[in-house]
């Protein structure tokens, strides 16, 4: 039997709130299955499990906030006898060896979460906070919903199942779907970003490089490619930039990875952190997994999906913890260049400003070409300026042969 613990979803996370369990004792799970929805201070994250097995007991109730590393559930080996399902009235998990009495009573909703369930009210509906909000949004009568969660609790999915067809909102609801209010969320995110960036600037000896890149070939190629494409398949220039970075860093692995305990550890793949600004403030940089092995269409689809889910608060745990090198693109906001701050424990950050027409000297002639200024902020403990300079040159070279991106 092993414990499934509250994961660290980024270096800035100290604790998380279990908003909703998607599994119950006795459920068989596979590595990569989404088992819970966890609220970090920055976002709601769908947490994946990293082993095959059978859920033994849920140790932390929905609504409880616990530190990173706290056991959330026990996981039994595949084939182990599943524990008997708990009776609906039972408030304690079925096999609670690690559960303290306070945890058991903590099954009552946390104060900030206005739910109907509570101790001594066994006949009342057990509804997860998220399900309650979803029901309110979709106009679903909770008494008509059959719960499939732990102890028959109604989950968001149960609500969505019975919602009138066409009712689910296509986009994120107006208010961030969080356990805390929008103002609290923003303040918490500000604090989390501040703590992480302060740590970065305190611990990481940054060095900075910049290189202007001629984008005329890339932009011509992109316009030509988009002419042939239906609107839904069109590519954005930022996709070319991401692809160029992913392909360049394959040849410069000392910039792709982490600085942990005084040593560099290469990343297990090229998982680009894509900095996504959130409307209303804040920032999140989830991983675009294996970006070096994706073609432009796959990168476009991947980024679009990440941006949408980042803003709707539906990222997955692996996306939060896996980035090996972050890319930030502030070109849409018109800035010329970005001097980035590295996300610990990563060792580099690539920045792009706006692609715009600038004077460009080549072959003894002065002309006007679309250019972009690529910047690198890198950790001097892990690499030197020489390496960083070669890396920017590799990005530049990639962007001169857009057809191979």
């Amino acid at each position: 039997m092993t414990d499934f613990v509250m994961p660290s979803l980024g270096a800035d996370m100290e604790a998380g709130t279990v908003l909703e369990w998607y599994v119950k004792p006795g459920d068989t799970v596979k590595r990569g299955d989404i088992v819970a929805l966890v609220d970090t201070s920055k976002a709601e994250i769908e947490v994946e499990i990293f082993q095959d097995g059978v859920i033994g007991g849920l140790l932390v109730p929905e609504g409880a906030r616990v530190p990173v590393g706290t056991p959330l559930a026990t996981v039994l080996p595949v084939g182990a006898e599943a524990p008997a399902p708990a009776p609906v009235e039972a408030l304690a998990p079925p096999s609670p060896p690690i559960v303290t009495p306070t945890r058991v009573t903590a099954r009552a909703p946390a104060p900030v979460l206005a739910t109907g369930g509570g101790n001594g009210a066994g006949h009342r509906l057990r509804v997860s906070p998220l399900a309650r909000r979803t029901a309110a949004q979709l106009g679903v009568d909770l008494s008509a919903v059959t719960g499939s969660g732990p102890n028959g609790a109604i989950t968001r999915r149960d609500v969505e199942r019975v919602a009138p067809t066409g009712a689910p909102p296509v986009q994120a609801p107006t208010a961030p779907p969080s356990a805390v209010g929008p103002i609290d969320r923003q303040a918490a995110m500000r604090e989390a970003i501040g703590a992480l960036m302060a740590r970065s600037k305190r611990e990481i000896p940054h060095y900075y490089l910049q290189q202007e890149v001629d984008m005329s070939l890339a932009i011509d190629w992109l316009h030509e490619a988009n002419l042939q494409r239906p609107v839904n398949d069109r590519l954005l220039p930022s996709v070319l930039l991401l692809s160029a970075v992913a392909r360049a860093v394959v040849e410069m692995p000392e910039l792709n990875g982490f600085w942990i305990d005084g040593a560099f550890r290469p990343g297990p793949g090229v998982h680009l952190g894509v900095a996504v600004s959130l409307r209303g403030g804040g920032l999140i940089a989830p991983a675009l997994h294996d970006a070096d092995r994706k073609d432009l269409d796959e990168i476009m689809v991947g980024v679009r999906d990440l941006v949408q889910r980042a803003r709707a608060g539906r990222l997955r745990s692996s996306e939060m913890s896996d980035p090996t090198l972050t890319v930030t693109n502030l070109g849409d906001r018109g800035v010329d260049l970005v001097h980035g701050v590295i996300y610990p424990p990563q060792v580099a950050l690539v920045g792009f400003g706006a692609i715009r027409e600038r004077p460009w000297a080549a072959d003894g002639m002065l002309g006007v070409r679309p250019t972009v200024i690529a910047t690198l902020a890198a950790d001097h403990r892990a690499s030197d300026g020489h390496t960083g300079g070669r890396f920017l040159a590799l990005i530049e070279r990639q962007l001169q042969k857009p057809e191979t991106l």
């Binding site: 296509v170 609801p173 069109r234 954005l236 930022s238 409307r279 679009r304 018109g334």
Partner: protein
């Protein structure tokens, strides 16, 4: 044929789906989407995709600058519709 008022309602609805924090009633019809309403290039593409999905109007990339405000977008779509009907 969709009336200009209907096109306006459609663009506002697409805009507020992409950017839920924008108050539909308070959108300045001459505000630049990118510069004043904080729409980025990914949001803008999603707006174009949604307009295309609901009206069937094809908007080539080179025309994107002609849809940079609510008023401009409505005029562009009304004109595109007229041309399609006349063709």
């Amino acid at each position: 044929m969709t009336t200009e008022q209907e096109l306006r309602t459609l663009v506002i609805s697409v805009l507020t789906e992409v950017a839920p924090d924008i108050d539909a009633a308070a959108v300045d019809p001459d505000a630049d989407f990118l510069e004043e309403l904080d729409i980025d290039s990914m949001d803008f593409l999603n707006i174009i995709v949604a307009i295309n999905g609901r009206t069937g109007i094809e908007i080539p990339e080179r025309d994107y600058p002609k849809l940079s405000t609510l008023n401009d977008a409505v005029s562009y779509l009304a004109e595109a519709q007229k041309q399609a009907a006349g063709a």
